[in-house]
């Protein structure tokens, strides 16, 4: 089974995202800031990371910079999920090594489609969700 790490300082958002990822057939871990996410990755590299931008302790973009320097840090697909919805943020995310970018609010269909596009799932897995 593929694994997903949900990084967001809002418990509610983490729960929603987790449900969506689980429906798509992923096992899920949660982290409430970039630092916790970093530790989780040092422990166990996930296949995909859903990443908020603004969080206390360590932001999403700081986490991404560090992640990509870790051994095996290029393995996870990283999808930003954030209220930051301007071109500057999107471009910075892509330059830092994000694979996809979702502007909140999101729903299961949007996440499912992104998973499909970056090759995390097959079309059949989408229809079950």
């Amino acid at each position: 089974m593929k694994s997903c790490l949900v990084v967001d300082d809002s418990r509610v958002v983490r729960k929603v995202a987790r449900r969506i990822a689980e429906d798509l057939g992923f096992t899920c871990e949660e982290a409430e800031d970039g630092q916790k996410a970093y530790e989780a990755c040092a422990d166990n590299m996930p296949d995909v990371i859903l990443l908020d931008w603004n969080m206390p302790v360590m932001t999403g973009i700081e986490f991404l910079e560090r992640l990509r320097e870790m051994p095996d840090g290029n393995i996870p697909k990283v999808i930003f999920c954030t209220t930051e919805n301007d071109m500057e943020h999107i471009q910075r995310a892509l330059q830092t090594g994000a694979d996809e970018y979702i502007m909140k609010p999101f729903d299961g269909e949007i996440i499912g489609n992104k998973f499909l596009q970056i090759g995390l799932i097959e079309p059949e897995q989408l229809n079950q969700g």
Partner: protein
């Protein structure tokens, strides 16, 4: 809604747009047509229905038809067909049209434009491979309102997130606060034109590739057959047809046959595709 009124709309929709409506969907008539009655200044839906029994305004009929059609669409809808377009169809065409360097594509029910624009972006991405090619993308729809929207090329955040890779958004759109504006160079690649699929299509000329997705699903079998026959006559002998995920030609017409292993892709009965395997 009274059954005689239901029958009037059923008849009118079948005739004007091909849409099949069943009695269990009669609530949809009420909820979607009441605003139309209001817009036209009728006291009630019944009053409008009465007017439609006489000699109705052509524009009123159009409004009724448009209110009942589904415009649901998205960029790169279903993802896979666009991979097939690139990897199978364009691969064939690059070779087969190398001499004339021209390609004609038709989106036969384009709604607000996401489908033809997705193709335009994909072709743009092919870059140098298509240098010097003349590429014509014709996009048609029954609804003139939706075509106006398509021509503007302005989309909401929700619309640009549904199905479109983020790199495409960054490359081909400009942001205007909550709205995303498609760049002119992509917009210019697509021609929009009103067309009812139930009407003759011979004036359109011929095409190499036709997208007719998620529209025949609303039609009865006769109309499906008629439209598919019309399309088959518009297609070059080695042309391709894309249909929606829930649609098929099987049991409806033998003008087309499905391509093995390529879901939603069809070729004409006598189609010549030496390299590509088609189902028998």
């Amino acid at each position: 809604m009274r059954i005689t009124d239901f029958d009037l709309y059923k008849e009118l929709l079948a005739q004007k747009s091909g849409l099949v409506i069943t009695p269990d969907k009669s609530y949809l008539l009420d909820s979607r047509l009441t605003p139309v009655a209001k817009k036209w200044g009728y006291a009630s839906l019944e009053a409008m229905t009465m007017a439609l029994r006489g000699v109705p305004d052509r524009k009123l009929v159009q409004d009724v038809v448009e209110a009942m059609t589904t415009n649901e669409t998205s960029f790169f809808r279903d993802t896979k067909p666009f991979d097939i377009f690139k990897d199978v169809v364009m691969k064939h065409m690059l070779d087969a049209r190398q001499g004339q360097k021209s390609l004609k594509i038709w989106c036969a029910a384009c709604s607000s434009g996401q489908e033809p624009y997705s193709l335009a972006m994909l072709l743009k991405e092919m870059g140098a491979q298509l240098n010097g090619w003349r590429i014509d993308i014709l996009a048609t729809d029954l609804s003139e309102d939706i075509l106006d929207q398509a021509k503007r090329g302005i989309y909401s955040q929700f619309e640009v997130q549904r199905g479109m890779p983020i790199q495409m958004l960054v490359k081909y759109f400009k942001q205007d606060s909550e709205r995303w504006l498609l760049n002119d160079d992509i917009k210019r690649m697509v021609r929009f034109q009103p067309l009812n699929l139930l009407e003759p299509m011979t004036s359109l000329g011929r095409f190499d590739i036709v997208f007719c997705r998620n529209v025949l699903i609303y039609f009865n079998e006769d109309n499906k057959r008629k439209v598919l026959k019309g399309i088959s006559e518009r297609l070059e002998s080695d042309g391709f047809l894309f249909m929606g995920g829930a649609e098929t030609v099987l049991g409806i017409t033998d003008a087309f046959k499905p391509m093995q292993g390529q879901r939603g892709l069809y070729i004409t009965k006598g189609g010549k595709h030496d390299v590509l395997g088609a189902a028998e």
